[in-house]
């Protein structure tokens, strides 16, 4: 574990391991530990795939908690908690996300199939087979970066142009797959669409998926599902 400053109001704790379910669980346990302790000056705990940023109100720490150097305090604090992390048993059932692959729902799939030298059925099989987990959340609220993709589907390019991408688009980026949660403009490679709403701002608990959740995709046809309100991608 290495600790870095991220400005004068945050530290980054870096756990130097490969991205894995275990690592995400480490970070979640650390996040939970800190959240449970309820430190009044911690304002944000933001995990990435291998790091965690902890933001703090340095002015509050100095003024009201008689801490001379907030950075040194946080660093010392992190060095004491690392021993207390325990892994919890993973018993969660995966959350199933129905996806209509290709066509107007996944306009980039056709060119991707050529790139992969793969037919549609084979692709769908490879994309629906793995158990994914949410290794990172960001970009837009509730947007899950899913780790666990079949390595035959890895890419190192993006779409050629930025275009309109509707909420619910299933995308591929590098070694990951993800699902857009708001209408957006971007150069993601869009392979399909799900009507499942991952972000509902009106709800107190506004993200359907959480960091560490297990996810599987299920291929469905257009007819099997109510796709009312679908807005196609446009460039």
């Amino acid at each position: 574990m290495k600790i870095y400053s991220q400005g004068d109001q945050a530290i980054v704790v870096s756990i130097e391991k490969e991205v894995s379910k275990d690592l995400t669980e480490d970070l979640l346990a650390l996040k939970k530990y800190l959240a449970d302790k309820n430190y009044p000056f911690i304002t944000e705990i933001v995990p990435t795939e291998s790091d965690m940023m902890i933001c703090y109100d340095a002015r509050d720490m100095i003024k009201h908690h008689h801490i001379q150097s907030p950075f040194l305090y946080m660093k010392a604090l992190m060095q004491t908690v690392q021993l207390e992390i325990k892994h919890e048993e993973d018993t969660m059932d995966p959350i199933e996300i129905p996806v209509v692959y290709g066509g107007k729902y996944g306009p980039d799939l056709e060119s991707l199939l050529k790139h992969y030298k793969m037919n549609f059925e084979k692709f769908v099989k490879r994309h629906t087979q793995p158990n994914y987990f949410v290794s990172m959340m960001g970009y837009t609220p509730g947007f899950p970066y899913l780790t666990g993709m079949d390595k035959h589907l890895f890419v190192n390019h993006t779409g050629e142009n930025k275009s309109f991408i509707p909420a619910g688009s299933v995308i591929i980026e590098g070694k990951k797959t993800g699902i857009t949660t708001t209408d957006t403009y971007g150069d993601w490679l869009v392979i399909g669409y799900t009507p499942v709403k991952l972000f509902t701002p009106e709800f107190d608990d506004f993200t359907k998926l959480k960091l560490g959740d297990n996810v599987v995709f299920k291929s469905v046809s257009e007819k099997e599902m109510d796709l009312g309100g679908f807005k196609p991608c446009q460039s």
Binding site: Q6, G7, A10, E49, M53, I62, S69, G142, T207
Partner: protein, 334 residues
Amino acid sequence: MSIIIEGEGLFSSFQDFGRTGYEHDGVIPGGALDPLSHEIANRLVANDKNEATLEMTNRMASFRFTEPTLIALSGGSFKAKTAHMNVLPNKLYLMEKGDVLEFTETKHTSRVYLAVGGGFELEEWLGSTSTDFKVKIGGFHGRKLKKGDEINMKRDYTERHHKLFENLEESHQTDWGIDGYALSFNYMSDVFHVIKNKGTEDFEQKALSRFTSGEYKVTSKANRVGMYVEGKPVKAFYEDMPAHQSVQIGTIQVKRDGTPIILLNDHYTLGSYPQIGTIASYHLTKLGQKHQGTKLKFQFIDVESAEKNLIKYTNWLNQLFHGIEYRMQLEMLK
């Protein structure tokens, strides 16, 4: 009971101090890019500092008032007027029904904040009325303002507001305000302190020296998400994109071609470019006022020195706010 937008300006939206505690879910922090000017405007109209103000950018909006309204404008130096009077920065005014306020000179400011006594009636999400353009929520219908928009006021008037309406009935302005000279201490300098972060390790010493030796110019590519600056390119020692990294307001990312981008309040919650460091928090209000063409110089500082500067900055803020409070109390005795 509203203000009507006569001209929308370049980019006008409602902001407060932003949303805290939801970045792990992908919610951007948002909030006023110059939170000091935001707070000064609120304090001058006797509002709570958390009331939303209207943030305007480069080319400012103009508005019509439909009833007597207490207002204050803060942010850089500018000239504004109504048909009856000139309106200066950092001073309290009383607008009358039918008054139209417009700006005549805005070259020396990037962002001006308008506060109205009693606050605006806005949409709140996750404890903030800041406009989130990605989710299209908060503020006024989650979007920037356009001509013809009519924004209702809360008229949440306290005793102080009532007294101010009374005192300003004739003069329409106070005989006091904040001296621009006092504020220039905070905004004048072009030097920005940068604290090294995890990403700094991705740059060789030579690149870091290049970064601190040259001047960078704010380009036209600047919005609430980030600010591109032009100068000596700086590149990480690798060509590839790094794994996603944590970012803060003020984090300086570097594009593939070596162009630095300074992240601002509407930054994505995860960064996908190499990053060279993060600007100290006490220089962010100044950053929010650097307009296109301004020169910036970066200087590395260790985090413990930055913390000492933060304390000095905080003490200065407290003095400034105590000054406003003192004048406000005198006004209440009139």
